[in-house]
């Protein structure tokens, strides 16, 4: 188990390192260097001398790898630069918006499980019936439906036609718990749809696979009822591989948050990233890319560790 954990940690750090290089290169690909980008937004800087001065101050005249090392050092020490749009420190911006997005993440995971688990179990138990076919079609639809289209349909139905839910906007929990709840209901549902579809499909095939195993026959041969076999012997081995689906689905949840926060005007990290892209706000883009990768990698690391804990074949070596 120790070796397993060490392996996963090492892997995560290697990929993080590569991500930082990739982001660094991507940032240099943006049209103009950061100072010029800043100048485009902030006209006061449009003086060539000042620009040259700034270039030297930011080390942009040095060789690329030196720039990379300086940049990485600054980033790790929490100096993520200053937003070219608002002039705020990117680090502060990030952590101010983080709770909003986390709340949205939690909501979407909740929806994914609430819908995906029962559907998957049901279709496995009613395999090859019309119900199974319906669930499978629903699951593929859930995986395929574009976030923005689903969002528009829901807004049209629940806000425009029925006036039940707000079309956009965010209410902090401290201000009004109920308002907070209703303002996140639709966005989190939309973000959770993809995961729900994935869960349903994986749970179905995982459960079917397990139910066909020899050890399920052994359990039946002991005289256990069908229900006891399902709960006591099939559930655990069937659910362990499903943990990995969380890692698979997470990328979609994160990507979904960018569009959803934009559509529903939610002041979270996704919205911050989209705005930064519009403005070419290059420090914010960089931070967004890196922290997104950190987020995805951390969740995947967690998934691997949980998987290792649940599966005795990995836990006890």
């Amino acid at each position: 188990m120790k070796r397993y954990i060490a392996g996963r940690l090492l892997y995560t750090f290697v990929i993080l390192f590569l991500v930082s290089i990739l982001v660094f290169i991507l940032a240099r690909l943006l049209p103009g260097d950061p100072i010029q980008a800043a100048a485009m937004i902030n006209m006061d800087l449009a003086n060539q001398e000042i620009i040259q001065d700034l270039r030297i101050r930011f080390g942009l005249d040095r060789p690329l790898y030196v720039q990379y090392v300086i940049w990485l050092r600054d980033f790790i020490s929490g100096d993520w630069g200053v937003s070219l749009g608002s002039g705020e420190a990117v680090f502060d911006m990030f952590f101010k918006r983080l709770p909003v997005t986390l709340e949205l993440f939690a909501g979407s995971v909740f929806w994914s499980c609430l819908i995906g688990f029962p559907l998957g179990i049901l279709s496995a138990l009613r395999r090859n019936t019309w119900l199974d076919a319906m669930v499978t079609a629903t699951a593929i639809t859930g995986v395929s439906i574009p976030v923005f289209w689903e969002g528009i349909v829901l807004i049209y139905l629940f806000s425009v036609v029925f006036h039940w839910l707000p079309a956009a906007g965010f209410v902090p929990f401290a201000e009004s718990p109920l308002g907070n709840f209703t303002s996140l209901l639709m966005p989190s549902f939309v973000m959770g749809t993809h995961g729900a579809g994935l869960f349903a499909r994986y749970i179905r095939s995982s459960l079917l696979e397990v139910l066909g195993q020899d050890y399920i026959r052994t359990a039946r041969a002991k005289g256990l009822s069908e229900k006891a076999v399902l709960i006591g012997h099939a559930a655990k081995p069937a659910m362990i591989p499903v943990v990995t689906v969380v890692g698979l689905a997470w990328g979609y949840v994160v990507a979904g948050s960018f569009i959803v926060e934009y559509m529903f005007a939610i002041p979270g990290l996704g919205r911050m990233g989209v705005d930064a892209v519009f403005l070419r706000d290059f420090p914010v883009i960089q931070a967004t890319l890196i922290m997104t990768a950190v987020n995805v990698l951390l969740v995947n690391l967690l998934v691997d560790l949980i998987y290792g804990c649940l599966d005795p074949r990995i836990r006890i070596q």
Partner: protein, 341 residues
């Protein structure tokens, strides 16, 4: 129609189990009848795919449905017809009065549950043992099946056990409630020869101690000769020969049985005499030939074999055979088994 004799533990009458697959109907077990007395050991032999496992699973009513179904027949066990029991009543028979050990020790234990939990479970279900008490009993059971340090291994997981140890754990699980009937479906096929012998010996001793009857399914005629009192030979879903083990060995009547004997090395046999595998392919249950199923591979077919399937008939005392032209003794059998060439 309840059988009168009380010493009979099990009586199977006209059992038919079919599989309705996309490719067609498979009559995996067709019109099988046999009986078993208290404490007796019955061997079932036959080629792969002849329906041995399906017969055993039918007794336990564990045929996967769909695609399989027990079409007709009666299974009288301890005075009740198992096929008439409700699912709940059947649950109280399985693992309690009648237990089964499977062919594949590597996959028959749940990889994510401890050995203790799995072995003790029958006690918890059928004898309402409390979990902590069951774990202690389970340790004793593991010792009884000679798992080294049994008590300490209750908390282990299957992957920490070797194949032989897993099969021992399976035996412990099956015998936990001292069932009246133990069905062992090729319990040792996947294991190496020394462990095979140890396990069979262990099973024999344990069942004898408890007075448990045993159905021993195997490919291996040597095992049958050694451990079984009586033998059913199966071919293509039917029993083709039924006899006491000794009689079957000394005087096989069905050409198929004769062929089986000829393909096994025997100690009392001349070294020069070559082993002869049975010719031809095992039958395809989807397309059985008309008449006797064995006729295409038979060394001594006669006219009627192609037309009509033979029924089991008494050939001598305690010896039944389903063949139109069975081998005769003693004149045809010499030093060589001449029937299959």
């Amino acid at each position: 129609m309840k059988p009168e004799s009380t010493e009979k533990l099990l009586e199977v009458r006209n059992l038919c189990t079919h599989f309705h697959t996309r490719a067609g109907l498979i009559r995996a077990v067709e019109d099988v009848s046999f009986e078993l007395a208290q404490g007796e050991t019955l061997g079932i032999v036959g080629e792969s795919g002849c329906g041995k496992s399906v017969s055993a699973l039918s007794l336990m009513r564990l045929i996967p449905n769909p695609p399989g179904r027990i079409m007709k027949g009666e299974i009288w066990f301890e005075g009740r017809d198992l096929l008439k029991l409700s699912e709940g009543e059947m649950g109280r028979v399985r693992g309690n009065r009648m237990a089964m050990i499977f062919q594949e020790p590597m996959t028959s234990l749940n990889p994510v549950l401890t050995i203790g939990r799995q072995v003790a479970e029958p006690l918890e279900i059928h004898q309402a043992a409390r979990p902590d008490k069951a774990q202690i009993l389970c340790g004793e059971l593991l010792e009884r099946v000679r798992i080294p340090g049994g008590r300490k291994r209750v908390k282990d997981y299957p992957h920490q056990f070797s194949g032989g140890m897993r099969q021992r754990a399976m035996i412990a699980m099956a015998l936990a409630c001292t069932p009246r009937l133990l069905i062992a479906d090729e319990p040792t096929t996947a294991l190496d020869v020394t462990i095979q012998a140890q396990l069979l010996e262990l099973m024999k001793n344990l069942t004898r101690d408890c007075g448990t009857s045993l159905i021993l399914i195997t490919h291996n005629l040597g095992i049958v000769a050694r451990y079984a009192d009586r033998v059913n030979v199966m071919y293509a879903g039917r029993i083709v020969e039924k006899a006491r083990a000794r009689d079957l060995y000394s005087r096989p009547r069905h050409p198929y049985t004769v062929g089986l004997m000829a393909s096994v090395p025997r100690l009392d046999q001349d070294v020069k005499c070559k082993l002869r595998p049975i010719q031809g392919q095992p039958p395809d249950l989807l397309q059985l030939p008309g008449g006797c199923a064995f006729q295409p591979r038979c060394g001594r077919p006669i006219e009627i074999c192609r037309i009509q399937s033979p029924l089991l008939t008494v050939a001598s005392e305690n010896h039944e055979v389903a063949c139109w032209n069975p081998a005769d003794y003693p004149k045809e059998i010499g030093g060589e088994h001449a029937l299959t060439s």
